[in-house]
């Protein structure tokens, strides 16, 4: 009998075990720690209180993103609470000697856009951050997961975390996506199938043809939303696309080290005979553009269909959840998705604010106008550098001429901690990742879609199947 091989997750886990405890937990070494203003202040207070120093300064990298204003000038300036958090981040980073990209630094951006963009996320690393969407970084063959504030303090002080090994899940997507069907549609579709708790307790490795042909941006979109499927960590094997993306990035290895690193990164994939506790297969060709109708990312249907009827659900708790969601969303069962009219459109967030997302959305918008019925349509690039690149390609003009607002980088209306948010009952076509009650603003109604679907909804004033438009 031959022994089962190792999964990518097994390999990453094994290389980071510092010490194994008798009860099955292990002390795991953390290579990269990303910080932002919302989940770190209490951790730094804890350090001060217990008189601990930061274990390894250079592993930490900080950026304010959740609270930052996305307009210039004072009108959208941070409220006093947000200002204090941003100030605290400044103070904590300077006191403890941690590198930070401040508000006016072009490198500032959403932490999960900034990390990979800087090459601060590298294959083979463990990456953590006090934010659940840290799963994004798994696209690089990295073991990356979100942690709470106590763990932020633990990493700062010890460079380690006490963890129990997760189970392995493989999600293989074969076949080819329609050109207008995006990685966002794919991950929404998967969440719809395996549910928001389907990945709980697992690290999900995504693979198969449909994943291998994706750009790093697309791969990040998928890993980003693994947490919405209940999985703390997502993973993808390293290949040439990973290596090409990283070459020349500021934090990537140089000085003769690059070749050595690449040589080692190429081994970062699951063995042929690796054992997975759970396996799912999907066929990319059958997937249509997706739109969520409810208050959980698993409440999702293809754009060509209708709002489902709770009466068809046999599970009582689920049915009650659907009824509550419909009530909250102001929708009736059986309403065609194509008859739903958003009031606002938001293109941004760590799911879909990278250059590729903005380029695709701009192609839909080019030469067209935002519908009169849309109160506000905004594009919020994921980082200052994404913004610069988009401007150098003239995308800002395309968007503003169509009637979109062109903003500065930040989390913005993904969670509405700054001034960008929905008013009660406003309906939004959003490229973000969570349609929870109140997520984008008190009583706001969120429909999660891809950037091209959001752009098309802005122009049409309703959800339409973007595949029916000229698309190149």
């Amino acid at each position: 009998m031959t022994m089962a091989g190792q999964t990518l997750y097994d390999k990453l886990w094994e290389t980071h075990v510092v010490h194994s405890n008798v009860d099955g937990t292990s002390l795991i070494y953390i290579d990269r720690h990303l910080l932002h203003e919302v989940t770190s202040p209490q951790a730094f207070s804890g350090l001060r209180l217990s008189k601990h120093d930061v274990w390894r300064r250079s592993s930490n990298l900080a950026v304010p993103d959740h609270n930052v204003p996305t307009t210039d000038g004072d009108e959208n300036a941070t409220d006093p609470f947000s200002a204090l958090q941003i100030e605290k981040l400044d103070e904590n980073c300077s006191d403890f000697g941690i590198t930070k990209f401040g508000l006016n630094d072009p490198r500032q951006g959403i932490v999960h856009v900034m990390g990979p963009e800087q090459g601060a996320t590298l294959p083979g690393m463990t990456v953590v951050c006090g934010d659940s969407h840290t799963s994004t970084h798994g696209a690089f063959g990295t073991l990356a997961f979100g942690i709470g504030t106590s763990e932020v303090e633990h990493v700062l002080a010890t460079q380690c975390l006490i963890q129990k090994k997760m189970k392995n899940m493989q999600i293989r997507v074969d076949g080819e996506l329609d050109p207008a069907v995006t990685p966002k549609d794919l991950i929404l579709y998967i969440i719809g199938k395996i549910t928001t708790s389907g990945g709980r307790g697992h690290a999900i490795e995504f693979g198969g043809e449909a994943i291998r042909v994706l750009s790093m941006e697309g791969r990040m979109t998928i890993c980003n939303m693994a947490i919405e499927a209940g999985a703390r960590a997502a993973l993808m094997a390293v290949d040439q696309a990973t290596i090409d993306y990283l070459q020349g990035r500021p934090f990537a290895p140089t000085r003769g080290m690059w070749e050595k690193a690449v040589h080692s990164w190429r081994k970062l994939k699951s063995d042929e005979n690796a054992y997975f506790d759970t396996i799912h297969h999907f066929d990319a060709a059958s997937i249509e553009p997706q739109v969520t109708w409810g208050t959980s990312p698993e409440m999702v249907v293809p754009v060509g269909s209708s709002v489902p009827d709770p009466a068809d659900e046999s599970d009582i708790t689920k049915r009650a959840g659907m009824e509550r969601a419909l009530d909250y969303m102001g929708l009736k069962p059986g309403t065609p998705i194509s008859e739903i009219n958003p009031d606002k459109v938001f293109i941004g967030s760590c799911t879909n604010s990278r250059i590729e997302d903005l380029m695709a959305a701009a192609e839909i918008v080019r030469g067209r106008k935002v519908a009169d019925s849309i109160k506000q349509a905004m594009v919020v690039p994921g980082s200052g550098l994404v913004k610069q690149e988009a401007e150098s390609r003239g995308l800002d003009k395309v968007f503003t001429e169509a009637g979109f607002e062109w903003r500065n980088s930040g989390c913005s209306m993904c969670l509405g901690m700054n001034a960008d948010r929905l008013e009660p009952k406003e309906r939004c076509a959003s490229t973000s990742n969570r349609n929870f009650e109140g997520r984008q603003g008190h009583l706001g109604r969120t429909h999660l879609v891809s950037p091209v679907m959001a752009a098309a909804a802005a122009v049409a004033g309703k959800f339409i199947d973007v595949r029916k438009w000229n698309y190149h």
Partner: protein, 215 residues
Amino acid sequence: MENFLKHKGLVAPLDRADVDTDAIIPKQFLKSVEKTGFGKYLFDTWRYLDRGEPGMDCTDRPINRDFVLNIERYRDATILLTRGNFGCGSSREHAPWALIEYGFHALIAPSFADIFYNNCFKNGLLPITLDDDVIEKLFHEVEEMPGYKLTIDLEKQIVHSPASSIIEFDIELSRRQALMEGIDEIGMTLKYRKIIKKYEVARQLEAPWLYPELS
């Protein structure tokens, strides 16, 4: 953090699945740089009829009488009974901080989201996972009996219900100990200081690009 040994308390039934941490403590309250002050905003959108803002005095706010924690018989609840995937979504540790400050000592559900589950233990809040059918039975009992209390014995890993039935639950040894003894995890890890340093030296030989400050 208080040590958790035994707890007897009133149970409130929150009959929803997939309760996310945005619902437990909405984002506007995350602007604090403290660990306290969140209890009065727990489940803010469900508890109150107006829109909550940080710093707000909650004594005069219009309350949602239908929400379980506003119903007289559940007001002093210290144990929350709920449905699957509780605590999904954002990693905010403000969620357990708010639950504890409100007065909860334990949560009982068929399952909890991974990050939230972990965050509970760091703060002395006990999440108990029980099978779906047991949860169903508990929901039924709470509904039927005003003043329904459960007694949780962490050391024995059992829950006593008033019908004096005994329900066993699983919990990892290290987590149980951490709750019972209130372990300082950072202090514990720092006992391995030498081993961590040794790891770093070995790892640096293998993957020197991870240690640019040393090259």
